[in-house]
Amino acid sequence: MQYEATIGLEVHVQLKTRSKMFCGCSTGFGAEPNTHVCPVCLGYPGAMPVMNGEAIKLTVITGLMLGCEISEYSKFDRKSYFYPDMPKNYQISQYDKPLCDGGTVDIDIDGETRSIGLTRIHLEEDVAKNMHFHDSSGVDFNRAGVPLMEVVSDPDMHSPEEAYAYLQALRQSVLYAGVSDCNLEEGNMRCDVNVSVAPAGSSTLGTKAEIKNMNTFKGVLNALKYEIARQIDEIESGGEIVQETRRWDPDRNVTSSMRTKEDAHDYRYFPEPDLMPVVLSIDQVSEWRAALPESPRGRRVRLVEEYGLPGYDAGVLVADKSIADFFEAAARKCGNAKAVSNLIMTEVLRLLSESEKELADVPITPEALAGLVGLLDAKTLNSNTAKEVLGILFEEGGDPKVIVEKKGLTQVSDSGVIDGFVAQAIAENPKSVADFNSGKEAAIQFLVGQVMRMSRGKANPQMVAQLLRDKLT
């Protein structure tokens, strides 16, 4: 039988605020345990929360980017549960009046664009971090109270690949919106996955399992592949799917049961009496809407129109906002957008992925890349030496002109110098010369290579080929 999977995602995104959601403690990452804490985020009795207005604004901006309806009236609620990560024994969240309703995330899958529906976006506080020791656990409250935006999708995806594309597209939009750093290593984006399977074409959904707290997109992809196959196997072998929470084990590549619905939580939501509702005026929302940053899709179209780039190039550059920013800054400086794009797409992206770094971590500047393209255009460098200079810019930064002078990389276009190398190459490689003379066109490439080697990569390759042809015929 054919089965269809149905997938919904709840993505928690840490907002880029300086201070926590309900107190003035820092949100800085990596501090010593329990150094960003106060009576509010430690849940001392009587301590009163006060909303961080910036967190509200960033959530609404995200909602506007994703086409949500912004609630005129929203409020916060208490979600009760007992766990050491939450000292108040409730988490402040939003239950029935979230800040944003609806919306969509557009994904590209199998050459087509699909709109994945959103249910809502609400705001809540993060919880503390637990560390596990040999026979006890420790609690660090630095993260408790950090603003978290939860983006809830409709059960609108049907394959692990769609879920993966959704996460990437959502991250891209959030980065473009400038509301979060989306740093996965620092846990800025965490995801709960709901998945069920049912016979294809069935009008009812199967019983779902929830996979909690995933913090890599690859993890979500692999967990879904495993879990969908597991559920189908279970049904095929006459078993029954139980509604439960499962945990993903990335080392063993399996999901395993954490708890079944019988001991599911009863959160007893009720309105948070210590916080007043949020009422957003139409004027306020319009002001934020007018100042909205460009969307990734809008930018892709613009790069094609404004710089005459192929659609493919524009898509690659736009995928990472910092790369697209870098491209535009360099292209404006040197006026040869296609050459800038080529160098970024081939060399810069390769160097970044090999070194597993982000653009922000390396010293190369858009001005330097523009300068490098200028040297290529002026034929001061050939593509080999340009690569070499780019490697140096990537590692050490600096001005390409200075590097070219210091390293003596200026392209040799002096026919007198090249002539000598050409004569030497012909003398040393009689077989290739004979091959060329008997009509083997490819043999000339070997001879060009020899000359380039003798010039330590600095000869002008077009000139070398021309001089060789002149000599041989």
Partner: protein
């Protein structure tokens, strides 16, 4: 939503509510609280007698909205003082019984 532990009738599932609050009650206590809680809820239910048609639900008695603070970092508490409140500590963290998921 129909919450478990609270039905439309007057009866309260005291054992369930106690479980949610992590309270251990004797059967006698359960009976006592059953009666007392039903009285309390019954008293609050008097409010049902009011005609509230056309009145917007509100979360607060006072009509105040949009109480925000600026996104500014303020120093918190000294860690030594914070951890003084902990029954025990491990590596500058609050020590709790081992959490098993």
């Amino acid at each position: 939503m129909n919450e478990p532990g609270r039905t439309d009738t007057d009866s309260i599932d005291v054992a369930y509510v106690a479980h949610l609050a992590r309270l251990q009650l004797t059967p006698e206590e359960t009976t006592t609280f059953q009666e007392q809680l039903e009285q309390v809820v019954g008293y609050v239910r008097k409010i049902d007698e009011l005609d509230v048609t056309g009145i917007e639900p509100t979360a607060h008695a006072v009509q105040v909205e949009n109480v925000f603070r600026e996104d500014k970092v303020k120093p918190g508490l000294e860690r030594d003082r914070v951890l003084e409140n902990a029954p025990s500590c491990i590596q500058e963290q609050f020590q709790v019984p081992k959490i098993v998921e």
